[in-house]
Amino acid sequence: MNELEKDMLPQAVMITIYVLSRQYHVPAGSTILTALEYAGFKLKKGVGCREGFCGACASLYRLQGDYKLHGGLGCATVVQPEMQIVQLPYTPAPKAIYHLEELEPVPEVFTQLYPELYRCLSCNTCTKICPQDLQVMDYIQAAVRGDLEQAADLSFDCIQCGLCSARCPAEITQFNVALLARRLVGKYLAKKGKYVEDRIKEVEASKFTAGYQELQDLSPEDLKKRYFERELNNLIY
């Protein structure tokens, strides 16, 4: 946080939070990430896009008077009084090695590549912790019965934060299973969008090269200015 940003919070109400069991006073209304930085943590890992997309800042927290263990993204979760926080930016996860070209979009891919999937107890613990509010159990169960499309569909907003996997009593790596489902659906089953092919052709024909070069040549200040002035609503996907 730079001086300017700190100046913007002068009259902020301060609240008490606990990070790794140590007490800190931070401005109310901060997100977990800004609160950590306010408290003096220098975040090099466990922080990424700060916009809720990259999944790097997964955090666990508990609230006062509530036995439940909550999961949230550090950049998107606002701190609350007496909150206990720890970041869990990474969950070790086995990942099957495969070549998408050699796979077929058939139910058997799951028994072959992620047989541990069949240990799922349907306890719903993964759904409880998911910061994206996904029906994680349901997408895992879709995979169990070999329903690739439903598994891909229900997991579409997964940002691979890893919290579900850390909590799973069956030690499943939900997000990697989901990734496999989405890749197979994307490659083999989903309707192909013509606009994607068109855009790829445009990229290959160097239509955007000049534009990128222009951005690269800007000074950091000008680049920031351009970023904040961009017309979000006019973005064409």
Binding site: K68, P107, C120, L121, S122, C123, N124, T127, K128, M137, D138, Q141, V144, R145, G146, D147, P169
Partner: protein, 314 residues
Amino acid sequence: MLPQVVMIQIPYYPGCTLKNKASNFETSALAAARALGLELVELPRWNCCGAVFSLSSDDLMRHIAPTNIFLRVQEMNRDHLVEDEYRLVTFCAMCFNVLRRTNQRLRESLEDRNKINDFSYLETETYQGRVEIVHLLELLRSMGWDKIQERVQKPLTGLKVAPYYGCMLLRPKDVGIDDPERPTILEELLRSLGAEPVDFPLKLRCCGSYQTVPNKDLVADLAYDILSRAQKAGAEAITTSCPLCAFNLDFRQKEIQQKYPMFLPIPVFYFSQLMAIAFGLPQEVFGLAGHYANPKTLLATKGYLQATSPLEGG
């Protein structure tokens, strides 16, 4: 003329295997049920039942899966997908066993129920034991075998079928759908369809169940005993209601043939396939693809298949 049927709608739980490896069993079962006026409405959202009932006293975690399924039946009633219908129909013998046994445990223990309801705090409903688990065979029996017989258009006359019960339909006693030592329900079904039930001594003997995962040779031996005893008794085919039995008895014939070269393959039918055939339903719903031991030759020789139409998917 076929008797007029009034359709009734009942919630239905397929289970993982009938949706996947054994989807051919599901096709035939749904079609056969529909022919009898049973419209089985699949739960809009469901999870694996766990396949085996957890036998230890404190292992509540493993009873959550079936409880979720019971809650879905409540939701179907809440959302008017069915009207005041708390019966839940299954075909798969393993699903049936787990669901009914868990339901029994939850009905008996308020403490267990409370613990699971409390654990599943994301659910909008709690479970109090209202759902009733029914196997399709039980539904058939309660309709009356004469009703089944009335629906038959192509009686399976002369088809010698050994009914194989296995474990999960019958045991333990208070869960089973028939006498655990002298069951008759499959024989009655076969007779209603016009087939000839073949009694054989190993019809209640376990096929090895999930031991097929670590020890396929062992299961091949068990399956060999069962199949060859049925053949010795004169059976031309076997029928079962359990997709795991069907897998062990059918697909392990590959290992059997390697170990016992004299063994002649014998087709294994899901009970509903025989119903679909006898009811004269369209050949596509028989689900004859996805077998290991080819069932088509036998059916064709008996004249139950139209030789001219392609057997694709049928």
